[in-house]
């Protein structure tokens, strides 16, 4: 019996390891190609380890396109979208969970029903509205429409229910204002909730292609996904540079991911895993 289960385990480890090779192969191929000389890229048979490491491919990316601009734009947009989203969804989530005011259920329902409207359904009129604000090619146009709060509010509200009423009452008796209570008492005990919403928002904003594609015309305002996608459409595509640019886009995400695996996995599946 024991032996049989050992054999089974052996097979499982073997299958999972083979799967892992397939899982990592595309990423390995990306890194490998990013370091190759042009004549090596489609050489037969393909080589995983380049003859010499062409780190200059990475520098070339910055010559071909305004990559440093894309990078800065992506950082500005992602950070602001994330920070604003976390602040306002935590406040709204707290209000919906813990403050009694007329119309509360109605407003919550309003937010909730907006979850039913995917971005793709409203993108065309949304673009026209942003045009009428004069926000094309601006950070405001990139950032504000990307802040979708419904999911975050829904999640935060669930978390906020766990804050004991007694603490809030005690703070109130001590003369603390609602905002002060929120900031000094609620926020410190809700850090996991904030992290969940932050990571979810960070990831979708960093990866967002469609909205920045619509709302930016000038190269200087592009974010990384848009810059990368249009990079490819250039004739005589230079695959080594494209892959080098891809690596540079992926690296910040991977670093975050490695240091915060648990929060990442919880953040990206937060709405889905029922606990």
């Amino acid at each position: 019996m024991k032996k049989k289960s050992n054999i089974l385990h052996g097979f499982i480890y073997l299958a999972l390891s083979l799967g892992l090779i397939l899982n990592f192969a595309p990423l390995a191929w990306m890194v490998s190609t990013s370091l190759k000389k042009p004549n090596e890229i489609f050489r037969m048979p393909p080589q995983l380890i380049p003859e010499t490491f062409q780190f200059s491919n990475y520098l070339k990316v910055f010559e071909l396109v305004a990559f440093e601009k894309f990078y800065i734009n992506s950082i500005i947009v992602t950070v602001l979208v994330t920070v604003i989203t976390v602040i306002i969804t935590s406040m709204a989530g707290f209000a919906f969970a813990k403050i009694d005011f007329p119309g509360r259920n109605f407003f919550f329902f309003l937010f909730l029903s907006s979850l039913m409207i995917p971005f793709h359904v409203i993108m065309v009129p949304l673009y026209r509205i942003v045009v009428s604000f004069g926000w094309v090619d601006t950070y405001a146009g990139l950032i504000l429409p990307q802040i979708s709060t419904a999911f975050g509010i829904f999640l935060m509200r669930q978390f906020m229910y766990s804050v004991p009423d007694s603490i809030l009452e005690a703070a109130k008796i001590d003369g603390s204002s609602t905002f002060h209570t929120f900031r000094k008492i609620v926020i410190p005990i809700q850090k996991p909730a904030l992290a969940t919403v932050a990571i979810f928002t960070f990831n979708s904003s960093w990866n967002n292609l469609l909205w920045p594609l619509l709302v930016t015309n000038s190269e200087n305002m592009r974010t990384l996904p848009v810059g990368l996608a249009l990079f490819k459409s250039v004739r005589n595509i230079d695959w080594a540079s494209v892959m080098a640019a891809s690596v540079m886009t992926l690296v910040p995400v991977i670093i975050f991911f490695i240091f915060m695996q648990k929060q990442f996995i919880r953040g990206l599946t937060g709405g889905a895993v029922k606990e």
């Binding site: 489609f42 403050i99 005011f101 793709h120 359904v121 469609l210 594609l213 889905a272």
Partner: protein
């Protein structure tokens, strides 16, 4: 009136006492302030576009000249006179079904395998999740490279002695190439959901099955799969709705081609928008919304039936 009860602005359920609405509003003023900013964003960037788009869908408008009201013509055209929409609709269904079935199957197999092992469990979980955090544009670019005529995949075929395949240029194949890419990117997500759900299956069911002499596959068949029924349903619906919104991969890998063989609904909305058919693309958006709504209603029915 100085009792503790009235000190509290806190209340979980409905207001419990007979205070007037005004008094409650005054006490709950912080509530309004706390939701003010997201509410403003919701109005400006969700609700108003939704209404505006509805109006636009009855017009012919290129965004420069004044919009012309044309009644239901856009909708008529979508259903009777737009063969590309037809193709896009069918392609979108094809994409959703194949990517959902393929993705869930692989994710399920990975999950039950990882669930069985004791060492390196975390390592495998994290490794298989890695593509999920990879930006779709990056994923699409990598796979475009792999799918090139002289790319990695055709080389592998040549080793086995097979002819090269036009992964992204053959119209019978291009959509499936995009599907494979999408499965690779998304399966880690489903795997994590499965792994979480697997914790919920009571161990004694497995013990009982073992007692009856059930082997590994029989246990999976008779204990695991029935136990994960709701998870399968959830992932199928979630994946289908996500699949219907496919855009990034198409934009980067094929641009809807060759000959519309990878044209999808969202890509067709985008193309019309780019050609400044704003009224028409709004009508397409509304049809798209209705399609998603129908899927959501089916979802609700499935979940209700399963007491989810």
């Amino acid at each position: 009136m100085m009792s503790f009860r009235n000190l509290d602005y806190i209340g979980k359920g409905k207001s419990m006492n007979k205070q007037g609405v005004l008094k409650r509003a005054r006490k709950g003023i912080a509530g309004y302030l706390f939701i003010l900013f997201p509410l403003a964003l919701l109005l400006t960037f969700n609700i108003i576009p939704m209404l505006f788009g509805f109006g636009m869908s009855f017009t012919e408008w290129n965004g420069i000249q004044p919009a012309k009201f044309i009644g239901l013509d856009n909708y008529k055209k979508i259903f009777t006179n737009d063969s590309v929409f037809n193709t896009a609709f069918l392609n979108t269904i094809k994409f959703s079904i194949t990517s959902v079935v393929g993705g869930i199957t692989i994710a399920f197999i990975l999950a039950i395998l990882i669930d069985r092992i004791t060492r390196f469990q975390a390592f495998f979980r994290v490794s298989y999740f890695l593509p999920v955090v990879t930006p779709m544009v990056v994923v699409a670019l990598i796979w475009t490279l792999i799918y090139q005529d002289k790319g990695l995949l055709n080389y592998i075929l040549s080793i086995v002695g097979l002819d090269s395949v036009g992964w992204l240029t053959d119209r019978k194949i291009a959509m499936y190439s995009v599907v494979v890419t999408s499965i690779w990117q998304g399966m880690g997500f489903s795997m994590i959901i499965f792994l979480a759900a697997l914790q919920g299956i009571p161990n004694h069911l497995y013990e009982a099955a073992k007692m009856d002499g059930a082997n590994f596959f029989q246990q999976v068949r008779h204990v695991t799969i029935p136990g994960l029924k709701n998870t399968f349903a959830f992932l199928a619906v979630y994946g289908t709705i996500g699949g219907f919104q496919v855009f990034d991969q198409i934009y980067v890998m094929t641009g809807g081609g060759p000959v519309n063989s990878t044209q999808t609904i969202v890509y067709w909305i985008y193309s019309n928008f780019k050609q400044l058919n704003l009224g028409y693309s709004s009508a397409l958006s509304y049809v798209f919304f209705m399609i998603l709504l129908i899927i959501s209603i089916i979802q609700l029915k499935i979940f209700q039936k399963n007491n989810y």
